[in-house]
């Protein structure tokens, strides 16, 4: 066990935890003033629900002994064998429970990301049921495939901090959710405008700050690689923020704060799979691509007519796919000997591997999420009644108002 690494990862776990309240602010600022609490409540509830799922069975399904490359075994159910000593093969430099809780924070924010898609209309009880099932049947298997020694790991797919596990999976689930749950009442007729963009800016700041724990911490050690991930993360976020605001400045005539916030998050998403495999200059290019591609990505919903309220697909989906493919272009063993070289470093096959991981992640997460939501809808309605939707989730579901007149 390494005490320096242990201290670092404990702090990183706290940073990643902080991202979920940050996400709550990021999303809540973009909703209408009658749905602020309902939106924040979903993120906060995920912190409690997923923590329990994780310790009882989620962690074991993700990191237990591999079963045919598909899922982890039941060795760690109820935290059996997860204590203060390191595990013999998983993160041997850290107390096993420190590794477990660091991973737990990732499992929490991933379903919270999906909430942006069905914001302003999903029932709280159906939501709780959904995230329990989703963490069990979508997140845990995917996490196992990529980080727990499953088939994607064996295939050599590179995903440093969760481009596939966190971002593509949540975005695919988001798309499935909006197709099953349907549009908000009045979509396309009325304008749904953000009620408090300063709140969204504060949320963006917290996400950016927490993301350092997310990406640098994914080195799982306090070393040079963690430093590299920290730096590439910051560069990509800053570059993508500028790319987005310059793109909209040129196309719509004005640079906007929501554009700055969206661009920064897009850059953070795109660098996530690459942070510990690429160098400085590639991180600039990844940021540039993220800002521009995601700027166009958010317009897909009006073109295809689905109501992804807060653009989970446009930002986490497009940004995640770009990041995964860019990892296949720019990865270098000079940065991370445990990784692989990408196309521009003489290994075109890595791009193919990344492509396969993108398709597999998106198809799996989309299909499973679609099926899970259909099953839940047989048990309990997924969305609030029209009357509740009109009144707003805050009063209708939680009997509270965010703002008193």
């Amino acid at each position: 066990m390494n005490p320096t690494d242990t201290a670092f990862i404990i702090i990183c776990a706290a940073l990643v935890m902080f991202m979920t309240p940050g996400l709550a602010l990021f999303y809540a600022g973009m909703t209408r003033s009658k749905n602020v609490l309902g939106t924040m409540m979903q993120s906060f509830a995920a912190i409690g629900v997923i923590t329990l799922v994780w310790i009882f069975w989620g962690y074991s399904l993700a990191f237990g002994t591999d079963v045919y490359g598909l899922i982890g075994g039941l060795d760690f159910v109820g935290m059996a064998g997860v204590g203060m000593e390191p595990h013999e093969s998983i993160a041997t430099n850290l107390p096993h429970m420190v590794f477990m809780i660091f991973q737990c924070m990732f499992a929490i924010i991933t379903p919270a990301l999906i909430t942006g898609a069905f914001a302003e209309r999903m029932r709280f009880s159906a939501f709780l049921l959904f995230i329990v099932l989703w963490c069990t049947f979508v997140y845990a298997p995917l996490c196992h495939w990529v980080w727990g020694g499953g088939w994607m790991y064996e295939m050599g797919a590179l995903d440093f901090a969760g481009g596939a596990v966190v971002h593509m999976s949540s975005a695919s689930a988001a798309l499935a959710a909006v197709l099953v749950i349907g549009k908000r009442k009045g979509w396309g007729k009325r304008s749904f405008l953000p009620h408090n963009l300063p709140m969204t800016m504060i949320g963006t700041a917290l996400l950016w700050f927490g993301w350092f724990g997310f990406n640098a911490g994914s080195a799982l050690a306090a070393d040079g690689l963690a430093g590299n991930a920290f730096v590439t993360t910051h560069i990509a976020a800053g570059t993508a923020m500028l790319a987005w605001i310059f793109a909209e400045w040129k196309l719509h005539g004005k640079p906007t704060t929501l554009g700055a916030a969206s661009g920064a998050v897009a850059g953070l998403v795109a660098i996530t799979p690459a942070a510990g495999f690429v160098g400085i200059m590639p991180s600039v290019i990844i940021g540039l691509g993220a800002g521009v591609f995601c700027y166009y990505g958010v317009s897909l919903k009006s073109r295809f007519g689905y109501d992804d309220s807060l653009d989970v697909v446009g930002i986490h989906g497009i940004g995640g796919i770009w990041g995964a493919l860019a990892t296949g272009l720019f990865a270098s063993t000079a940065i991370n000997p445990a990784g692989a070289d990408g196309l521009f470093y003489g290994n075109p096959s890595q791009l193919w591997i990344q492509f396969v991981s993108v398709v597999a992640t998106c198809v799996f997460a989309f299909t499973m999420s679609y099926v899970l939501l259909k099953i839940i809808s047989l048990v309990t309605p997924l969305r609030v009644t029209d009357e509740e939707e009109e009144a707003g989730l805050d009063v209708a579901i939680h009997s509270e108002s965010a703002y008193q007149a």
Binding site: H252, V298, S299
Partner: protein, 112 residues
């Protein structure tokens, strides 16, 4: 007695207030309002999508004055509020039956 109701651009409030106090008007009531006339609304852009915002923020100023001050009042308001562009707003004039100052019980012109 006349009531003069002015609905106009919010940033013109200070100029109008000074113009009105400048001719001896001693009180007014100001409300933030939303609405539209020929100006219609305006466009806002969020994540590259344009949204039409129908109701524009305006300010409503109400004063109640003696009838012989009316012409002068209307003149100074128009001078202060006019930009010549769509959206300058409107003035509505109506007759008031009576006014009472609650503190003293005075009524009519001396209550203003």
């Amino acid at each position: 007695m006349k009531r003069v109701e002015i609905i106009t651009r919010p940033y013109k409030l200070d100029e109008i207030k000074e113009a009105l106090t400048g001719i001896g008007i001693q009180g007014m009531t100001v409300t933030d309002v939303r609405g539209f006339g020929r100006q219609r609304g305006h466009k806002e852009v969020y994540r590259g999508a344009e949204y039409q915002v129908d109701f524009v923020s305006k300010v409503k100023i109400e004063v109640v004055i003696d009838e012989d001050l009316l012409d002068q009042t209307l003149e100074v308001i128009q001078t202060a509020a006019k930009t010549g562009k769509i959206g300058d707003g409107k003035i509505f004039i109506s007759t008031i039956d009576n006014a009472i100052r609650i503190r003293t019980g005075e009524s009519g012109g001396s209550a203003l």
